[in-house]
Symmetry: none
DNA sequence: TATCACTGGAAAACTC
DNA sequence: GAGTTTTCCAGTGATA
């Protein structure tokens, strides 16, 4: 055997290096974000409020997606004949 | 010493039993919820859709709370003099 | 047109509200449990171990129920006049 | 009155949108990482161990950087003509 | 039964 | 350095 690991070892190394590269990137982006916050703070904005605003916008977006997925489910149910219409009677 | 644990043991036992009782309750409620879904399904409703609706309503509520907390932070910031008004200039 | 929210709508609304109420309760209990853990931690207990203990007791209980139900089956078989085979193996 | 959304508003909006874009990117990378782990798992590697390996390599790297920076300081001191004390302790 | 999403706890990161 | 918030993963429970 040539070296500890052999082919499996090469494969493992490849996976790990890919992850490490991605984590580097992610770290870089995290720093960018931090810098933007710092810049905003430097010109007088309250970063705590900014974070809240961003959180709310994120929730909005998530909700919109949920509603769309609801629509999908609903249309699918109609096709399937689950319950004829929401309002019969 | 009378028995393994003594006073500390009694205390621990008490904590654990309280938790177990609460978990029983929680389990009971989970069963109730399941029953309600079953009842709804029995009269023809699509539980998948129901779950979506409930999830969306939950998100609405969470968002409303986030907005209120944003307001709190905002008012606090004004008092603190962070940034005079959102729109100066 | 009856309007969205006819009888079926009322029924659906009722189901959903019941579920939401139950989920509220469940959430409340989850908070209670957390508080008990916090209290235990405050007086020096290791909550991680406590969780293990509770998990084990739960398994024990499940086992006991298993045995009891086995016993029930066995006794019913006897009452029914069938001659149960002696449990071999 | 300039209207909510004057210059300060534009500036704020710009900050927030930049952050949101960066968070999108970060999210994408996080997903990539997850996929790599999934791929590794699929061919039989233990991701838990992989995480450990990566953590250790990160520590190693931090250590190496520590050493290099120490070396830098030392070399600069030499160039500057100061006579560094031999590293004692 | 097996996949699928979700909840809850543990760990990590960031802020102050 | 402490405290709070995000992030991550494992366990649980629902659905098909």
């Amino acid at each position: 055997m040539v070296q500890a690991g052999g082919v499996a070892g090469d494969q493992l190394r490849s996976f790990i290096e890919r992850i490490e590269r991605l984590e580097e990137e992610r770290k870089g982006i995290a720093e960018d974000i931090k810098e933007v916050y710092a810049g905003a703070k430097a010109v007088g904005f309250d970063t705590k409020i900014m974070r809240k605003v961003i959180a709310i916008r994120k929730m909005d977006q998530a909700e919109r997606q949920e509603i769309e997925s609801l629509l999908d489910v609903y249309l699918h149910a109609i096709e399937g004949g689950e319950r004829p219409e929401p309002v019969s009677e």
